[in-house]
Symmetry: C3
Subunit: 213 residues, 3 copies
């Protein structure tokens, strides 16, 4: 198997798993099956779509290969059927989501570099690819995006994308680079979940309250 095939396979696992977590989020809002499919699609490919729109990189991958979209729609609907089982799989899904975070961040950075943009833009687009599917999901579900408030997530995306680009520039072989970045991103996210690591929070309201405003 080539590096490109390996990362594509992980990407496919990632988008299907994200579709399923998106479907669950739709279920928490009692949406109908159409809402389930839309939220599943937005969660799975919203980040990559936003990246391509920001870069003006057309055609967007799921427009060119619409079978990805169909697979995502099926995964979303399947979730409705197997939802009773999902509780027993929640640890598996957290693990796939952690892997997906690393995979999406690496792919976002890769594609941006391949289009000739600068490394800093590639890091930014790694983060957009890694986390904005979840942001769009939360906007459609009418809630403040989770990743702005919960355990370390986006910063891991940023560090994984940076590590990938840094190692590429140092001339590290693609295979070694991929394995190192996937291990780093995955382990860091799992540790953040286990030990509830989170970013410092900025609470401006509280301070105003303190001063009686």
């Amino acid at each position: 198997m080539q590096e490109a095939q390996f990362i594509s396979l992980l990407w496919l696992i990632g988008i299907l798993a994200e579709a399923m977590t998106g479907a669950l989020a739709a279920g928490r809002k009692q949406m109908d099956l159409f809402g389930v499919v839309i939220i599943g699609c937005a969660t799975a490919i919203g980040g990559g779509t936003l990246r391509d729109i920001l870069l003006g990189n057309y055609p967007i991958i799921w427009v060119e290969n619409v079978h990805y979209l169909i697979a995502i729609a099926f995964a979303s609907l399947l979730t409705v059927i197997i939802a009773p089982l999902m509780r027993y799989l929640s640890k598996l899904f957290l693990a796939i989501d952690a892997l997906g975070l690393a995979v999406f961040s690496i792919i976002g950075a890769q594609k941006t570099l391949a289009l000739g943009f600068s490394p800093v833009v590639a890091v930014v687009m790694g983060v957009v690819t890694g986390v904005f599917g979840g942001v769009i999901r939360d906007i459609l579900c009418n809630q403040v995006p989770l990743i702005f408030r919960k355990e370390l997530y986006a910063i891991i995306s940023l560090m994984t994308a940076s590590l990938y680009i840094g190692l590429s520039y140092l001339g590290v072989t693609e295979w070694v680079n991929l394995i190192m970045c996937l291990s780093f991103g995955f382990s860091f996210r799992m540790l953040a979940l286990k030990y509830k690591w989170s970013m410092p929070t900025f609470d401006y309201q509280a301070e105003i309250d303190t001063h009686g405003h």
Copy 2:
């Protein structure tokens, strides 16, 4: 009258009616006149705009023909004045909205096919054109998109777009195709409203509650 003129006329009626329902939604949130215009515009042309951005199809229609945007803004403001009458016209508006759903879905599919994309992409873009104006309206009004929870709407868009594309491939004349698809979409939507047909809902919260999680 040609087919193209006929469908354009229906499209114009559709965007003006959508602008007016958007303006009413803004009124329900006590927005000011600027908010009324923005929500009116987003409801009327948000779906087609999102389609063109996803396809990279520039210039967007209202950028090329800005008089459409001006007409939509006027229709939105007019709504504020005639709002007291709107209650008596609610059935008329539901009927125009049902027709608009069919028209937008057909046009979205038509334009996508004309750009050389595959039939499946054309169906997806028919749905985007048909329903995402309402989704953007609801996001701007800070509520969970209605179409993810109410009577059959998006699925009718999907079926109308599919029917149009299917009949085109079978070589059905454009006029016959249009009349059949418009009749199908319009009647199906009116029946769904009358008999409160809706999609099955996915309620994941309830199940968790049942199991005490």
Copy 3:
């Protein structure tokens, strides 16, 4: 100093100030530092980004010059540190925001005209550039956009952009035009704040309540 440098300098001041107000909005929602940076960036450059996407004008400025994005991110984080001082600076920030509104509206109109679009499109894009950063900020913070409900804001953007285009067509020198439009937009916004001028509101709910529906 050239006109272009002068307006660029004001633009830079504007985006940094907008980033800081965005960071405060994130603090009001108790977001983490990553959320602060995202909301800061969205507030500062969301309007210009949306304009470029709607016009298909690639590459987007902060993709081409990513140091703007880095400066905005730093300004957002700096806000967290100096937040205790911000209360004493609130009048200064309202003034910079008023100036920024005029600057963004003028730049949005300028860039659109330079791309060969019509004056009406230029006015629309002036408004998009001037106010949609705040709209995107409010969507990400899960609240109804402020500018649809508060003191005159968007209409000042529209009038400033129109004035700029009108004076350009009349052959007024660029320097004179800039000074006039900046003075007009800035003063109008400051007066609107001082005297709480606002647009008429459209309250559709109230009417329905009155009629018992």
